[in-house]
Amino acid sequence: MITARPESVLAGSGAVSPPAAEWEPILPGLIVLLPLLGFVLNGILALRSARYSSAALREGRDWDPFAGPRPPATHRLPTWIGPGVMALAFALALVNFLGMMAADPHDPVVRSYWGWIVTGDLRIDAAIQLDRLSMIMTLVVTGVGFLIHVFSVGYMGRDPGYPRYFAYLNLFVFFMLVLVLGSGFGTMFVGWEGVGLCSYLLIGYWFSDREKSDAGKKAFIVNRIGDVGFLLAMFLLFQGFGTLDFVPIFAGAEDHFAAGGVTITAITLLLMLGAAGKSAQLPLHIWLPDAMAGPTPVSALIHAATMVTAGVYMVARSSVLYALAPTSQAVVAGIGVLTALVAATIALQQYDIKKVLAYSTVSQLGFMFLAAGVGAFTAAIFHLVTHAFFKALLFLGAGAVIHAMHDAAHHGDGHLDEQDMRNMGGLRRYMPVTCAVMWIATLAIAGIWPFAGFFSKDEIIWYAAAWAGAESNPFGRLYAVYWGLALLTALITAFYMTRLMVMTFHGANRTGKTASSRLHEAPSVMTVPLVVLAVLSVFGGWINVPDALGESFAGLWGALPMSEWLHHWLEPVTHTAAGIQVAGMGEAAHAAPVGGGEAVWALVSTLAAAVMVAAAVRFTSTRRYVRAAEDPGPQGGLRRFVYNKWYFDEVYDAVVVRPVVAGSRWCWKAVDTVVIDGFVNFTGNFARLAGWATSLFQTGQVNMYAFVLTLGVLVVLGATVFL
């Protein structure tokens, strides 16, 4: 436990003083503010347009903003405002990033704007911290965010709530930037809950649909469970350091906490609880698949590329703390790898295209946590970045498919679930671009060389192995198991992704005759972002090609640029943690547990993934799928078990939700109404009953009165004489 508080940290907890300015960021606050501005403007437009629609509603008709030759201003302006602010923000972020690269500063730059919560010895500033890690995240958020905003123009362009959609989306980006740029846990928490709010609003964007708003609610509540962990971790940190700012905490952590101590373990585990909530890790992963109720670009932005990776970012950000708590790391890695495996198995049996992607996201997030758990924080961030590219691409591609299916379903016969892959098939003919870019993404996620996913995922698996073999790792054997599971998961990943592709784009078309004629490729406003993301999915991995691979075939014999660039870039952020780990358990083994060089393993894993892809192609394309309406669903115990998502929802419903609701009713009906109010009313009624009973003496008979009077006399006399 922490008893004393070194002066140096106290000094740091005051007004955050930027270190000697190695580098001057250009208007960093504007990066955050621009999306907020977009939110305000779009919000005003949204409320204006909503006035029209509600007025129409009162008159008993539906308001169609697109009925006229050209939509009203409220539905035209967001097209420019929404992506516009994102473009500006991205540009500004890029400028600053380039500036940072040029200056190559070692210390973070903290800009404080005002004292947010200042009382007593607590000081939380509204401040942003620009360092190597947060800049990478900012780039991803604004960059991928911008692309998704552009895509949304096409995807959501005909939605009556168009301005509202962009308002939410901008607000999300704002909170996400607060999250990544916040200079301390307090500020981060603002973004942390804020993105949760936006996630809630966007999942339930079509709020008139009960299921969708249920999904939003579920996401929010499950997230809040994690947030409690975050809160408690913050309290512990504050108790230890007297501040919540990153700089003093990470600088002082080593001096404060004995490695492996109870407090640090508790802090990191609680933070992990928060991360599990936000990043949909076991056991709090249940909200993410439901979150697919939101518009697909939202799924791409929030539930794939950015928000759900916030947990990974936070763990990486707190790398120093985790390095001090090996137990927590084992837990983080364990949760990560288990989540990855469980989600991957579930993805094998889903038919909803977005559900598959959702579980795939959960699974990939699991990989990132595994990376963090094995101390490969750079690898975690690396996978985060590449995953942002290919998973955003996959979701947007799915969006394009759904977009097409939606139009088709509109004209088709009867009800058609536009997201069910059993209703698709053979879409390659109608949507070649989409098909192509999605294949790129699939190969990337499957870990096929040289796509982005290969480098990032391989690095994680390799680090897991290396960690398992570290000299004095107390959990060495456990990590070996993790490694095995991770490898297995990687193979499953390749399988289910290929299954998705085959079911969607290949084979015979199952959409229906009339409907299929309406299938079409997405407009260019949607395909251009897809293509950009596809490029990133191919080359994104090259920012961190391991040195070891650089000289082998996998690195094109040194031709791949930027060897271990990310690693070096993040060095100032992670080196403390790395140092602690090395000090704690010695150098990680630089060899796989079963021998063989790095390059060999890269080859093996690529080959294995390729085999799985091939197997999936074979397995899936030979299977005859029927349309969703005619399909009874998977048979057989294991398949049903997996199809039903390991019955997590059902178990939680039985173990948590129902007892709480029943307990609530019991509290209300039994405790509140019967016990407490019963007592209160009983007191009142008892008094009246007593009054009634006493008044029975009042018979109106003089003799009776005289008798009572005499009794009173006797009592008083008796009392006087005998007492």
Partner: protein
Amino acid sequence: MYGDWILHALIWLPLAGTVHVLVSSAERAKNVAFRWSAFVFVLSLGLWWAYEPGDGGFALESSASWIEAWGVGYSLGIDGISVFMVLLTTFTSAIAILGSFEYVRTRRKAFYALMLLLEMGVVGFFLATDIFLFYVFFELTLVPMYFIVGIWGGERRIYAAVKFFLYTAVGSLLMLVAILYVYFASGTGSFGYDAFVNAGLSLREQLWLFAAFALAFGIKVPVFPLHTWLPDAHVEAPTPGSVILASVLLKMGTYGFLRFLLPFFPDAARHPVVVAVMLALGVIGIIYAAWVAAVQPDAKKLVAYTSVAHMGFVVIGVFALTLNGLQGGMVVMISHGISTGALFLLLGMMYERRHTRLIGDFGGIGRAAPWFATAFVITALASIGLPGTSGFVGEFLALLGTFETHMVVAAIAATGVIFAAYYMLPMVQRVLFNELDRPENRTFADLSRREMAILGPLVALMIWIGVHPTPFLERMEPSVQAVLERVEDARADAGHTLGGED
């Protein structure tokens, strides 16, 4: 200057307004009342600058002898704790009066006269630095509220009004006996605040007196299990009544904790058993009330129970006896006043339009009334303490402060954050979201200009306090610190007091 007369004016101007309302016509009553309350609010705004947080003691003090024979003074003063309570009172009174224009359609003169009378009582309570005076105002607030609930309330209004009255009276009368005890124990023959603070009571005495005071304030707060009057009162009360009740009257209880309970009985307030009991009740209140709230079919009752949960945060914040906890308690008080007041106003607007409060009768309102929905969502989020809104700052500080001394309590209480979402979001969903399946909801009118004028300032305040609470925090800090020091100083010399006692 301003400081010389403002405190008196804040108490007596509403009374003048009452008289004015009574002599004006029924049609003009609402405007007259609103102008008076707005005038009082504008006047009170000067306190923001007039109150200079110095050492945390009372400022703008003025004292006159009132009942000389008993050492009772008409003493007023303001410090960093009461200044916000007074501002909250004048603000919400004006808002509540404005919010009642449509709701109250009968017997208007009487209604507005009572509202102003209530304002006077509450302001007087917060300003009094004489214990007798404080008690008089404390009780005085019951009468207008009794009539407001009883006359303009719903079906079971009389039951609710009487329950409210009697519940509160039990506590306050027992407190009266306790006040007398301290009065005689202090031996100064004065009901002045300082005399009570320096009464020199033994621990044993303090425990008994603490119980009496805590009961009185605990009922007012209300602390579990003394809370059952609240849902009834809230459900039956007319909108403005609920607003005042939630925003201001409940604060009288928690304010009492800070102003009277802790400084008068520091040894008892610190006693481990007392702290344990109060913290336990606070935590139970947070979770229990959240649970009960979640299953209420009546929206107003739901919000009423959330008040209990919010007040639970104040209770744990206060009895954690840390600066952050107390500060957090204060912010929760302010924040709850604003957000819950706004929620009741919103529910009142729903009731005016649909004449029902059952959550199940709504659905899809977000489509019919987007402005209304926006205000509702923001208010609900402030209520459940989303960062960036006032609710978060308070709950965060309260929990943080509690955590510093009682980790487990804070950890359990923190789950209240989850349960807040558990009760609030389903209501938001079932009212605003879901399908617009009832034809009568399709014509649900959006906010009028007047309603926007009511909700606008409330929403702005929620966000202001959420984004930049420092001006509030720094003003209350010295006074809160003074309370804390009082408790801790007693701790310093408690060593021999306790040891030498028996």
